[in-house]
Amino acid sequence: MAAQVTTNQSIINDDSGSLTTDSEFQTNVNSKKRLSSSSNILPTSSILSPTGLTSLISFIVLTCAYISGFMSRLFSVIRFESIIHEFDPWFNYRSTAYMTENGFYNFLNWFDELAWYPLGRIVGGTIYPGLMVTSGVIHWFLHMINIPIHIREICVFLAPFFSGLTALATYLLTKELWSRRAGLFAAAFIAIAPGYSSRSVAGSYDNEGIAIFALMFTYFLWIRSVKTGSVFWSCCTALSYFYMVSAWGGYVFIINLIPVHVFILLVLRRYSLRLYVSYSIFYILGLILSMQIPFVGFQPVRTSEHMLAAGVFALLQAYAFIDYLYTKLPRADDLKQLFFGLMIFIGLSVFAVVVILTYAGYIAPWSGRFYSLWDTNYAKIHIPIIASVSEHQPTTWTSFFFDLHLLICLFPVGAWFCIKELNDERVFIVLYAVFASYFAGVMIRLMLTLTPCVCVLAAIALSKTLDYYADTETSDMSTSPVVPSNDNDENENETEKNNRNLYDKAGKPKPIPGRRGPTNTNQDTDDDTSIVSSNIKTVVVICIAMMLMLLAVHCTWVTSNAYSSPSIVLASYNNDGSRYIIDDFREAYYWLRKNTPERARVMSWWDYGYQIAGMGNRTVLVDNNTWNNSHIALVGKAMSSNESEAYKIMTMLDVDYVLVIFGGMIGYSGDDINKFLWMVRIAEGEHPKDIREQDYFTENGEFRVDRSGSPILLNCLMYKLCYYRFGELQTDFRSPPGFDRTRHVEIGNKNFDLQHVEEAYTTEHWIVRIYKVKKLANRLQAKNALRQVQRRKSIYSTSKKTSGQARKQGVILNKPQVKKGTKVLTRKT
């Protein structure tokens, strides 16, 4: 069968391969070409056994998928250099480097002093160490065989390397679910699908890069263990699950999806001992293993996210027991309804126990991030910091199409086929499809978990279609002797059920693997004659091949244009097509590294925390690990209040330098002014008395920085730091001085001086501006001291607290001042 399918592809690909010039696509086509050229040998040479041939073809296709998956992720390395991208990868890189230098145990105990000044951060207990350990192991291995490679190169190329492995895992999963041919398609799809390559291009050294491989591999092992019911495979599932837990917080998806699968199988009355063995072993082993990760700890037994797995485990035990009784009791059939009622009762009581434990406080309720998946307005109201991240927004239709193109259209078809020819493992992929598409719709970031599923189901749809249509030579009896043996071999590892079906069909010219049920026999008789005329078959195959080509071109285009930008090095193109590199970020961070005192503390918005710590090696107040909302809100408050207010906060936090990102000079849209409203919003959440979002809008509710903008906005620290001396600069001959090219307006407040900060450094294109916070001026010392005494008095007089509180005054001198400020303000208004 495989041979026949590919024979037709060879014709098409030979015709069309010359049309495309894109190198990436070429490799993809080549993979099919090579596969087909070798398959052409099939009828002629009887020396090569069909078994060997199918394996060879699969091997070649998978190798090509691996290589094309790896290569298509290297655009950014070729265009720029081997560099770590974006924000989070910088932290991962920094901690990996720390681990390779100081060893694993020191890494687990690492207390990071450069972050969250003055709090610091316990790194070992607050991260998933899988990524660092993986690259550390690779580094260690390469050094052992005397390849002295720098850890950075490993970090940069880890994600493409693992995306190749993901293709293999997807192949294995699809092979278990449908057939080998569908598996090859799925491997080719996942290798180039933009939905996945968006998170795994070279340089984006992030958890997701390896986690998707772990996800797919765990699913494959799970399906395998459900199929075989062997202890070995379910142990492997648990181990693979352990790797996933160590790598990514998305492991919750696995530990909920697998129980749902088991539960639905129970409901569908597809319970079997295989299921019992595999789930019991997987759950217990997986539970114990997952609790070994410090960051996870006791969560698997204490939080609601994991309770589904525990509940299903209890239910399965009860079900198994009742099932056992059912076989042992005489005249059990009479008690059928009793057993049924008992089952429902146990199910409800398990549910009730979980609910009661949650109310009693033994189990933590759903955390905000998970809750916001169900109640989609939750985050918007309660946790602005989650809602502020752009990848937590709901997904538009456009981005579905952008990331998956043709596959998104074939995806429901695959699900349909799986439902029509349902068996234990296809229940799983259908459930995966439903849940993943819901989550991907709610949060654009979870497109990543949807992509593998889409690839699998689209491959199934396509392979089933091509099984029939690419097979123009059904009437040609010369191939028929080959086919049955071929198929038997192919399905060697599949379950008995499938094999039995194949034996039924043996000798038939066109067996369709995977199809079963009574309808089959009717069709088999029909299949003897070629029903659809071969012309139409050819047209269908050509059309599908053209759409597939379009898919490959699209994927390459998207990966190269949209997802391969490191975002710390920007590129712009001149009119003559020459490229111009804007390297302001690294310039600024390098300046920080070389020109500031070693213990200097830099205040910036949290987005840049990891980069400052990673590249600039300086202490930051807040960073991308947004664990302390009130600290972030304090920084937001400093940025959004006027200069003297901000100075109080900055001296309180011991800030030495302030760093802002400003894109108005060259039209870089991701700058701090565009993010400013989120700073205001987050600050408002913690300090509603001092910061009000409305104050930053004009009367019409617009956010503008030009003359009609609100005066509070035009005098806040962020505005001043961004536009300091910008009014003197004429960016263009046609525009007035002080013309902001990102927002296309002339700024409203031009000539102002800074009182408490002074400009320290501004990069070439003004993207990064660094200011030094002045020390308290000498002359004001006496006055200040006097004022301070007064303030203390007022604290004593206004506060209702007893003298016990006053004793602590010396310890946190600055804190009461802030509180006092808010209180006095409220009473006046």
């Binding site: 109201i381 259209c409 349909w416 499809a433 439903v434 659809v532 053209m546």
Partner: protein
């Protein structure tokens, strides 16, 4: 018992009838407290408004909702806003924070048109905070267009203005619960009637269609519509929000649906549409439906392709025909999909059959 005490107290106050200013004030407070004990929201007419709110000698603050509840005004939002406001007032009434310095009131346009004229209001509903001894400032008007009028938002606003912490207590909405119960009993009854043949439950086709529709709903961006709908449409979480309800979509959503915001020429188009809200509503639905059916169509086409060889016919012409229809549907609809995508995503270079 409490009421009697209060009544007695008030009677005593009235009989004393001393006309000093403080007594007038305490008199007012007495009256207001009495009213608000009876009913959490005090209904004010013209005289009441003048006497209790407009008068500058006031040491209590009031949150007043200006609305038009009578049915001939046809203000459906007013009713919803009134319900939310009532929840807030109710929660305040039975909370610990209840005191005689903050009151909740309501002025209906038909009772108190003078109050509307006095504040120069020409829309409803409006929430205004009257701080003690002062006239309301600009910031004392609640910004409904931005925050919506859900009880949570109102409480946030109240906390902001008057520093009163109210723990919200929503009376559970039994109607939704009852509906669910009814549904479940109906389904169970149906199952009981059909208890001999559970076959229809195991029918793959039914479940299949259901699941496919669910998936299509998710991947054709309908969730985005339902989340990004304005607060007016699905503000009540208890009634359950479906995507279909949320076709009433704000201009911004429309703008984003129709194209990324960086396209200036599209924004000009928007100006045309935004004037007429009905137009937008229809167009919006139209676009969303098309997207939904395009996906659906492509899927159907592929399924047709696969069903084609299974059809029973003598000659095979019918099978060929179905297969041809299938591939034509797939190709045409997919290229149409691609061309829509192209029009949205400026600078996308590829197209297939249709430009």
């Amino acid at each position: 018992m409490k009421y009697f005490v209060y009544l007695f107290f008030i009677c005593a106050c009235i009989t004393l009838n001393v006309l000093s200013e403080e007594d007038v004030l305490s008199d007012k407070i007495q009256q207001l407290t009495q009213w608000s004990l009876k009913k959490p929201i005090i209904r004010l007419n013209n005289e009441h408004f003048k006497h209790y709110v407009k008068a500058s000698s006031r040491n209590y603050s009031m949150f007043i909702m200006f609305t038009a509840l009578s049915p001939q005004r046809q203000c459906s939002i007013c009713k919803q806003a009134y319900d939310e406001f009532q929840i807030v007032a109710q929660s305040y009434r039975y909370s610990n924070a209840f005191s005689n310095s903050v009151f909740f009131g309501m002025v209906d346009f038909d009772d108190g048109s003078d109050a509307f004229q006095y504040l120069k209001l020409n829309t409803a509903p409006v929430f205004i905070y009257f701080p003690p001894k002062m006239k309301p400032k600009k910031s004392d008007y609640m910004d409904l267009s931005r925050s919506g009028f859900s009880a949570e938002q109102i409480i946030k606003w109240i906390h902001d203005r008057a520093d009163v912490e109210i723990q919200i207590y929503r009376p559970p909405n039994y109607s939704g619960f009852l509906l669910v119960i009814l549904m479940i009993t109906m389904i169970l009854g149906l199952l009981y009637v059909k208890r001999d043949s559970f076959k229809f439950l195991f029918n793959h086709i039914v479940w299949g269609i259901f699941i496919i529709l669910a998936i299509l709903f998710c991947i054709s961006g309908q969730i985005w519509n339902s989340i990004r709908g304005p607060p007016f449409t699905h503000r009540n979480p208890q009634t359950g929000q479906s995507g279909i309800v949320c076709y009433f979509i704000s201009g911004q959503t429309w703008n984003l649906i129709n194209g990324p915001p960086f396209m200036p020429q599209n924004k000009n188009n928007m100006g045309l549409f935004a004037d007429d809200s009905n137009m937008q509503y229809i167009a919006e639905t139209y676009i969303v439906q098309i997207l939904f059916f395009l996906h659906f169509g492509v899927s159907i086409g592929v399924i047709l392709l696969n069903e084609a060889p299974k059809l029973k016919s003598q000659t095979g012409k019918r099978n060929s025909f179905v297969a041809a229809v299938g591939i034509v549907v797939v190709v045409i609809l997919f290229s149409y999909l691609l061309s829509i995508f192209r029009s949205k995503y400026q600078g996308y270079p590829y197209s297939f059959l249709i430009k």
